[in-house]
Symmetry: C2
Subunit: 119 residues, 2 copies
DNA sequence: TCAACACATGAACACTTGTTCATATGAAAG
DNA sequence: CTTTCATATGAACAAGTGTTCATGTGTTGA
């Protein structure tokens, strides 16, 4: 049922079966996009820093900004993105908004990344 | 030893100790950038698809392109990026370049991401 | 040695992304 | 109620990113 495509190389006997099998096993496109969008959250150093901070302790916005030496506005914009991705949540506490990790997967994902980076 | 910064909110007794402790625990800046750069690799759907394919089987460039329905040039550019990140390697086999995962961490990182996406 | 194939690469372009700046909102203290 | 502090948000801009198109390199087989 495989058609010979112009892109495919000239090894039908060798490659067609593998290509077909892998195609059947690939996740849905929606899943792949979701996955890429998830990893995109970890792909910016500002967001990475915020997540690291929140792995240690919940913290209000201005303390995050001060601790990281990044403008309050920049932090706020990134917090918004992280909230939309449901990686963090927040609650009001007096004048402050206290942010915290919304999901324990964050820790395990970052840990796997660290395993790689630290050899 | 903590100085009162203009960005910091007015809760010295409550927040200063936490901020200081977290600051001491944060990884080096270099590590954070490396980590963000690593996750950037997973943050594009084309690269995500390539990695998924290679998780199933090593495969030559044109088969990857055909299987994913993406132009050979686009695939080749992305493969180059993934090689620079040392996530994949390749060997020549006749006319073909066969690509394969260079690192088993790739699997565990993607798996952690999937755990999150699939609820 | 020449043509066909597999892959790589550079330039150009559109698109996305993150920051800054200015300003708005909203709770709280006086 | 007005001011002040903490945070959010919109517009504008610069920088980064991914694709396409055209072309180059390297390998194989005739």
């Amino acid at each position: 049922m495989e058609e010979k495509n112009e892109l495919m190389c000239d090894e039908p006997g060798t490659h067609l079966d593998v290509v077909g099998r892998v195609r059947d096993v690939l996740p849905e496109d929606d899943t792949l996009y979701e996955l890429a969008d998830l990893f995109k959250m970890f792909g910016d150093s500002t967001r990475m820093k915020i997540l690291f901070v929140l792995m240690e302790s919940e913290m209000c916005v201005c303390d995050i900004a001060e601790l990281l030496g990044i403008s309050q506005s920049a932090i706020s914009h990134q917090l918004r993105i992280l909230k939309q991705a449901k990686l963090i949540s927040s609650r009001r506490e007096g004048k402050n908004i206290v942010c915290f990790l919304a999901d324990d997967h964050v820790r395990s994902i970052i840990d796997q990344g660290l395993n790689h980076v630290l050899e």
